[in-house]
């Protein structure tokens, strides 16, 4: 079977980006990725844009971004998988190479979320579940959805608010080393625990911010990748799954079934086990989401997430360092860009280019866990040096 490699990566600064429009924001990461890959723009056969949309004015972001970046003419589309749109874009770009349609393809993730005010944004995100039954009638918000999981997890496994706060402190610690992160300041456990209550037990510092940003990767077939770079990072496995729109239909509230299924498919396709993962990104839209990810990905047994936090197993120097780029919490979470940003971070780590937050690479394997909504979509992507 042929293979597909990441041969170029690019990443904009995340945060409140009123200084650029959508095309300019996407271009920041596209230019870096194209230059890093050393490809001619005319050889890029497919440009897949991951963007959830709704926050910015453009309704055809793929076309707008393509024109600004000089990519008009290539096949293109916008894909949506909520906060996992970026991973869906990587998967679609990967597919177009695996199918033989093109030798070089791009995945571009972009979102501009700060063009609307915060209440509008809270409403846009809150509508992501079951509009009629949960949002309109009862006023469910996105933090409230994850809070339902947090309460269930605390009840069943004894996870505490302090365990969750430690994940936030970790994110800010690594965010302070990432010049592209939205928040580059360390925080204390006391500050996280004392922050404003949003949906009990989740507080302001348990939640990721609203962000603008873009990230891009250039992918190439095996033959072309070998002519472009000495350090290709191979996409070894992609698993994806989904779950119900109504949260009331879920079997339990202590993990995300879609993430478990996606992980199992990705491990099986990549022929690796959780023990071989050197470094990972986990979708920490809320701290409880990262803790459940440890369990859903098989980094520990179900219910063992809090222990991994307490023992520092997901910090640099721990068994499986997670979110060394600051995660969604500190790096920022421009919805459509996040999945591509994760692919960029894992590629950097596997190339050994992560600088101060470089993880030790033993097996040469990294993993990106990207969730859309509250486990409505799940993508797990496994990358490796060989």
């Amino acid at each position: 079977m042929s293979r597909v490699a990441v041969v170029g990566i690019g990443h904009s600064r995340f945060g409140r980006r009123t200084d650029v429009n959508l095309g300019e924001l996407a271009f920041e990461s596209i230019k870096q990725a194209v230059d890093d890959a050393g490809v001619d723009r005319k050889d890029i056969g497919n440009v897949v844009v991951g963007s959830a949309g709704g926050w910015y004015e453009e309704s055809l972001p793929a076309v707008v971004v393509g024109e600004y970046a000089g990519l008009s003419g290539a096949g293109t589309m916008r894909v949506e998988a909520a906060c996992a749109s970026g991973s869906a874009a990587v998967k679609a770009a990967y597919n177009s190479i695996m199918s033989g349609e093109t030798d070089v393809a791009m995945a571009v993730g972009v979102e501009k979320m700060t063009e609307v005010d915060t209440p509008t944004s809270v409403e846009l995100i809150g509508r992501a579940g079951s509009y009629t039954w949960e949002f309109e009638n009862y006023g469910m918000t996105f933090p409230a959805y994850y809070a339902l999981y947090a309460v269930a997890h605390m009840k069943k496994f004894g996870t505490t608010q302090e365990d969750l706060a430690r994940i936030s402190v970790k994110a800010h610690h690594y965010g302070s080393m990432n010049p592209l992160a939205q928040f580059q300041k360390e925080i204390t456990l006391e500050k996280a625990l004392g922050s404003q209550m949003v949906a009990w037990p989740l507080k302001l510092y348990d939640a990721c911010p609203l962000s603008d940003g873009s990230a891009s990767v250039v992918l190439a077939s095996e033959d072309v990748a070998k002519t472009l770079t000495d350090t290709p990072v191979w996409i070894r496995g992609v698993g994806y799954s989904s779950d119900t729109a109504n949260l009331s239909r879920r079997e339990d509230y202590v993990g995300l079934r879609a993430a478990v299924t996606a992980a199992s498919k990705a491990y099986s396709m990549a022929k690796v086990s959780p023990r071989e993962i050197d470094v990972a990104t986990a979708h920490d839209c809320f701290t409880i989401a990262e803790l459940m990810a440890y369990e859903d990905l098989g980094f520990c047994e179900k219910g063992g997430g809090a222990r991994m936090v307490r023992e520092g197993e997901t910090e640099l120097g721990g068994r499986i360092p997670v979110n060394l780029d600051g995660g969604l919490k500190a790096k920022g979470h421009p919805i459509g860009a996040t999945g591509v940003s994760m692919a960029v971070e894992i590629t950097k780590q596997l190339r050994g280019e992560a600088g101060r937050h470089q993880a030790p690479i033993k097996h040469g394997v990294g993993l990106a866990h990207n969730i859309g909504g509250t486990g409505h979509y799940a993508y797990v992507t496994i990358l490796s040096r060989d």
Binding site: T132, W133, G139, M140, A144, A147
Partner: protein, 128 residues
């Protein structure tokens, strides 16, 4: 919003879900195809008005239209027939809201539409 709400208001006001005539599974909100056995032989069924809390949260930062109620409890409730629904808890003390607590349905004002000022009513639950 008004039209969309009008379309489902019967089901919402009377808590009508679905019952599968093949396997007997009941669920809320209504479905076209049984989630348990896959049968399309579905009939309307009024849901029981009591159940227990599966999980919950207290919302401090509400959506527009819900400000007057904040902070308020949201919960996944398992009804006595096994169907689960997401709902609000009202008239319940902080000490009484916990996993496993028994709840019963009660009709309450749901929300006020910001533009039209229209008030909608629906089921909420309270701890017994």
């Amino acid at each position: 919003m008004a039209i969309r709400h009008w379309r489902v208001k019967d089901r919402y006001y009377r808590l009508i879900g679905s019952r599968c005539t093949e396997c007997g599974a009941e669920c809320f909100p209504p479905v076209y195809r049984c989630r348990k056995c896959g049968s399309e032989k579905i009939e309307d069924r009024e849901m029981p008005q009591s159940g227990k809390i599966v999980t919950y949260t207290q919302l401090h930062e509400p959506l527009p239209g819900f400000e007057a109620q904040a902070p308020f409890y949201l919960a996944v409730v398992e009804l006595d027939n096994g169907a689960k629904m997401l709902t609000q808890l009202v008239d319940s003390t902080d000490e009484s809201v916990k996993t496993g607590a028994k709840v019963v349905a009660t009709v309450r004002r749901a929300r006020v539409d910001g533009d039209s000022g229209q008030i909608t009513y629906g089921y909420k639950f309270r701890v017994t």
